[in-house]
Amino acid sequence: MSTESTTLATPRAGRIGRRSPGVAGTLRGIYIVWYRDVLRFWRDRPRIIIALAQPILYLVVFGAGLGSSLGGSFAGGGGGSVSYGQFIYPGVIGMAVLFAAVFGAMSIVWDREFGFLKEILVAPIDRSAVAIGKALGGATQAVVQGSILLVLAPIMGVSFTIGSILLLIPFIFILAFALSSLGVALASRMKSMQGFQVVMTFLVMPMFFLSGSLFPLGGLPDWMTVLTRLDPVSYGMDPIRRIILGTNLPGGADSLGLTIFDQVLPIGLEALILLVFGAAMLGIAVVNFRRRD
């Protein structure tokens, strides 16, 4: 016993830290990469508040401004109707999720710029742990950002049931995961912060506008119909809206649902589409992280 404690106190070189990566190592890596991001997010609480300003601004300006010119009953079905403000309420939740997920995952670019990414990439863990950990970190931040907006429901005149909230959170998470995986894939190739602006302007903003967050995706010009159906965010925005507004529309909100060839997609299928998309993005990210010069 006494000899063992002496060896522990002054370990000779090579005594510990020689475990091969393996599955346990990958899981450990995922956990710690995720934990660091969540810890930093939690420390940066002012940013959480600031990030809420933009969705609320949309809600107020579009909801009240555009809403009043569109009239009291904007969309409906099954014997009920919702106002424009109520219609875009799930849209801005999706928006908060979109920005937080992409932004959170793209912190990899910052890590690269400030050197910390090297510490992660030289560690004896599989690179897939880096991609998955970062994607889950971004997704966690996005779920928190999106869920905070649920407290606005009474102001928006939207009612929830326990059941609808329990159903909603997994769908918010799936959207968040798919988008943060996209962010990780983009960041895995990005060498500088300049690229970040380009991604925001030419990818994230169009994805937001085409997702059905601000207007219904039915009856659009053909070219736009195609673009909206290619936008992964559409498949996350739609279930979120149908779940949130479902309680306000007695006959359910499927009449608002996303259609392909006039068929309303089941929300389970939409979730599957997002999961496949997210997995593909993670695959790209892992390949990029594994590449060495």
Binding site: T10, R19, I32, R40, F114, G115, E119, R292
Partner: protein, 329 residues
């Protein structure tokens, strides 16, 4: 020394980027517990070599093994066996010193029951125990470097690689860091492999490989390398260097080299040479100085050019600015 004592070996190690050959066939054999220095100017191929040994870059040609593992075939095993202190900062400024170490302990698989103790030990080693809870962004450059060395040792690696470990630090901090490094080797028997372009730093190493243009041009202990310079170095300033050079060459049989308006000669015994020089040359000598050869002289002799300190100093300044930025994110 048997082969099992070799911790790092390389044979014909080569790195090419298209046409550019950054490292041109390097052979190395570093023994366990050795402090091995890689000395050369910026751009000589030092960092490229260290990156290949650490599996951060692929090997174009040749082979290398670290801690008994081939860097191309078993990169994960190599990574688990080494610690790294990068040339540029790689700490998370928004985490505390302890949190940076916890991250490292976790990702390197230090067993849960040893983590707290190991972290306390390495913090103690670099005298940062009292700052363990402070955010790294509040740390000075020297403190960050110490924390990085502590982090590199956290998982008790067999080899600690240090890429320009004291670049951009003031002389006092550099001496301080060397104290830790020597202590590390004495206490834990770890092998230290470092790159540097500081001559005084290279003097601290057991053996040095002088690298220039992607090749090792000399390898040996600092004394062995200095012995390559023929004895003492005498620097002479005269009114007429050309004539003086001719006379010195004719009378003493040594060829002076010209540098910065002065003549340099290498002689076995400067104390006896200088009086004779003054007596036997017709040119007026305005100043004479002599000293034991330094590694600067070795480098100049081997490569025909000096390690440009001015250029390096500018690089240091850039790095320091980079560090300041890193702390401000």
């Amino acid at each position: 020394m048997t082969d099992t004592d070799l911790v790092i070996t390389a044979r014909g190690l080569t790195k090419r980027y298209g046409e550019l050959e950054a490292v041109r066939g390097i052979d190395l054999a570093v023994h366990r517990g050795e402090i091995f220095g890689f000395l050369g100017p910026n751009g000589a191929g030092k960092s490229t070599t260290i990156s290949m040994l650490c599996t951060l870059l692929t090997v174009t040609d040749g082979s290398a093994s670290v801690a008994g593992f081939d860097v191309e075939r078993n990169p994960d095993d190599v990574r688990a066996s080494i610690g790294l202190v990068f040339q540029d900062p790689s700490l998370d400024g928004q985490l505390s010193a302890r949190e940076n170490l916890e991250f490292h302990a976790f990702i390197y698989g230090v067993p849960a029951d040893q983590r707290a103790q190991r972290i306390a030990e390495v913090l103690e080693m670099v005298e940062l125990s009292d700052r363990a809870g402070s955010m790294v962004m509040t740390f000075s450059g020297g403190m960050r470097r110490r924390l990085e060395i502590a982090r590199g040792m956290l998982h008790t690696p067999e080899v600690l690689f240090l890429d320009e470990p004291t670049i951009g630090l003031d002389p006092q901090t550099r001496r301080h860091i060397w104290t830790y490094l020597r202590q590390l080797r004495a206490d834990q028997g770890v092998t230290l492999f470092m790159t540097t372009h500081y001559m005084d730093e290279a003097e601290e190493c057991d053996r040095i490989a002088v690298i220039d243009g992607g090749r090792i041009v000399a390898l040996g202990t600092p004394d062995e390398l200095k012995a390559l310079v023929g004895g003492d170095v005498v620097t002479i300033a005269t009114n007429d260097n050309v004539r003086a050079a001719g006379e010195i060459s004719a009378r003493f049989g040594v060829e002076p080299t010209t540098a910065d308006d002065t003549l340099r000669v290498e002689v076995p015994d400067a104390a006896g040479f200088v009086p004779r020089l003054i007596k036997e040359t017709s040119v007026e000598i305005t100043s004479v100085s002599f000293r034991r050869p330094s590694l600067d002289d070795v480098f100049l002799k081997l490569t025909g050019h000096a390690i440009r300190e001015e250029g390096a100093a500018a690089g240091d300044k850039m790095r320091l600015m980079g560090r300041a930025w890193g702390g401000r994110r």
